[in-house]
């Protein structure tokens, strides 16, 4: 059984039909990527998983359990966490306060302290800046904080929405390195990207979405070779 499964999901914003019959599976321990152009429905897909937008029909399952009845904040407790597009850190709170809020659902202070240690090992920069107001961090640091904050929930599955967006090439490499480290540590990841080449090189499987429909799904290696994907999403 897949860890996360979207089954024939449709989603609407008022009259706009943003997802049309989307079915996606993510198995335990995988990195799966969802690629597509601007406005294709990538973020909407993640919203239906996180529960900030409920599917108008179809289901989202986590380990076989239908998530329809859970509000967004309960879904976090189930082990799904999203790093939203544009990072969305709390700019007026300090770095440490942002991380504390990642642990909002946790009751175990000792474990939180250990998780923070781990996150500071992964992102030493955050440790240096921990008393700084988060809004004053650079773009790259904000991305680290957004990921660190999400990791504070000790997720079973991490949803990343365009983590490389707006970052300089060096920092993009860093983001993908971090994704690999997290994967090696056992986190299951669903990675949304416009940077299709990097995403497909990192992932084991991929889905291509266009105007709300999944048009391809295959092993990442095969998608990298796919002429149509190359043309449309990798600029060859």
């Amino acid at each position: 059984m897949a860890m996360l499964e979207l089954k024939n999901v449709h989603a609407h914003y008022g009259k706009i039909h943003a997802l049309k019959n989307v079915s996606i599976k993510v198995n335990k321990g995988e990195i799966v990527t969802l690629i597509g152009g601007n406005g294709a429905g990538k973020s909407t897909t993640l919203k239906t998983i996180s529960g900030t937008l409920k599917p108008s029909s179809g289901q989202v399952f986590l380990n076989g359990e239908d998530l329809a009845k859970y509000p967004a904040h309960e879904i976090v407790k189930k082990g799904i966490v999203q790093v939203p597009e544009g990072r969305r850190i709390f700019g007026q709170l300090t770095v440490m306060e942002n991380l504390d809020l990642g642990a909002f659902t946790s009751k175990d202070k000792k474990k939180d302290a250990q998780t923070i240690e781990k996150i500071f090992e992964l992102f030493p920069r955050l440790a240096e800046r921990c008393r700084q107001v988060a809004g004053t961090l650079s773009g790259g640091e904000q991305q680290m904080l957004a990921m660190g904050r999400a990791l504070m929930t000790n997720p079973k599955i991490l949803l990343l929405d365009e983590p490389s967006m707006g970052l300089a090439p060096v920092l993009v490499d860093n983001v993908f390195k971090t994704i690999k480290i997290l994967h090696a540590e056992g986190t299951t990841i669903l990675l949304v990207e416009q940077n299709a080449r990097m995403a497909l090189k990192t992932a084991s499987r991929g889905y291509v979405i266009q105007t709300g429909k999944v048009i391809f799904e295959d092993d990442a290696k095969k998608l990298l070779e796919n002429e149509m994907v190359k043309k449309a999403y990798m600029g060859d």
Partner: protein
């Protein structure tokens, strides 16, 4: 350089600056002539200041409720004055029952604590259900709609209390231990005013530390910034909004009892003026900013108490104290014109309203 300046400044700006400047000059001139006339001794000024601080710390407590609700919902809860009224109004019945049974003479401290408890509970419940019934269903409506609802809720609560308990003024009983004076550094001060200041400052310290240091406080600040991101971190946004109203209600209820103890009366309309003054204070301090609201409240109380004598007496205005409300609201207008972000306010551009 000059060209750039000319492009940015309009005729309206110039007229506004002239009005502002004139008012400033008048205040200065008034102060100088008041002081030169020597109508007031320094002990008068000290009295004005202590009364102003007491009044101001009550405004400050109410203002935190306005500012926190603005933070999480980006709306002005115009029924907050009635949240403030409902507590001490209910507390009045408890106080009278205690007074008739001599409980207030035999156990004054316990009696006062119970009055506070009842009042804070009632204000809190009203604030809580106000949000749940009147505002929550309108969460995604255009911003004007909840504002109008708030004004409706304000009238509803006023006339509910009027209908239930009549439109008369009810006198709070005298409580022996709160009467009389203390001598502090050789200055005679009214006990009740000192007690109001100390109680309000303690409550504000508790409130501020709660918001800054606890997990729930941080979550409330996170919800103020970005509700969706907060939900993605596992924060129950609705629960945090309710908590905000609960905290605001507790502060308003406590402020209400302090007000009733200081002015010795309650009536159904008593929330209106302090409510609008506290709103003014919240705007003065920068709406959405908690320390700003506290500072704004104290500042407004002080100005209201000192300014009539200081600015107006010297200008030859008779009965200047009658004009204290006019001074408060002129300040509101001035702040809205010249510094809409308030004293400690963030820049409007940084606000995701």
């Amino acid at each position: 350089m000059f060209q750039k300046w000319k492009d940015r400044v309009t005729v309206t700006d110039i007229v506004m600056w002239m009005i502002g400047g004139t008012m400033l000059l008048l205040c200065l001139w008034g102060s100088v002539s008041t002081i030169r006339a020597g109508l007031y001794t320094s002990s008068h000024w000290i009295d004005f200041c202590i009364f102003g601080l007491a009044q101001g710390s009550i405004y400050a407590l109410i203002a935190t409720g306005y500012t926190m609700v603005y933070g999480v919902l980006k709306m002005i809860n115009f029924a907050h004055g009635e949240v403030f009224m409902s507590g001490p109004f209910t507390g009045y019945f408890v106080a009278m029952a205690f007074w008739r049974s001599d409980f207030l003479d035999t156990h004054p401290v316990l009696g006062i604590i119970v009055i506070f408890g009842v009042a804070m509970f009632v204000s809190t419940m009203i604030a809580y259900f106000l949000e749940k019934i009147a505002y929550r269903p309108l969460r995604s409506a255009p911003r004007l709609i909840p504002l109008i609802t708030a004004i409706g809720a304000s009238f509803f609560l006023q006339y509910l209390f009027r209908g239930l308990y009549g439109s008369g003024i009810n006198a709070y009983p005298d409580i022996e231990i709160l009467e009389g004076f203390w001598m502090i550094f050789g200055i005679r001060v009214l006990k009740i005013q000192v007690i109001v200041i100390i109680a309000a400052v303690l409550l504000m310290l508790v409130l501020y530390n709660f918001i800054m240091l606890t997990k729930v406080g941080k979550a409330i600040r996170a919800v103020s910034e970005d509700k969706e991101a907060a939900a993605l971190m596992g924060i129950n946004v609705d629960a945090m909004i309710s908590t905000t109203f609960v905290i605001g209600g507790m502060a308003a209820g406590a402020a209400g009892v302090l007000y009733a103890l200081m002015f010795k009366q309650v009536h159904f309309f008593m929330g209106f003026i302090p409510g609008i003054k506290a709103f003014t204070a919240a705007v003065l301090g920068g709406i959405g900013n908690i320390p700003g609201a506290m500072l704004g409240g104290v500042f407004l109380g002080l100005i209201e108490s000192v300014a009539p004598a200081l600015f107006l007496d010297g200008l030859g205005i008779i009965a200047p104290y009658q004009l204290k409300d006019a001074i408060a609201f002129s300040m509101l207008v001035m702040v809205l014109i010249f510094r809409p972000t308030g004293i400690l306010g963030e820049r409007l551009s940084a606000k995701k309203a």
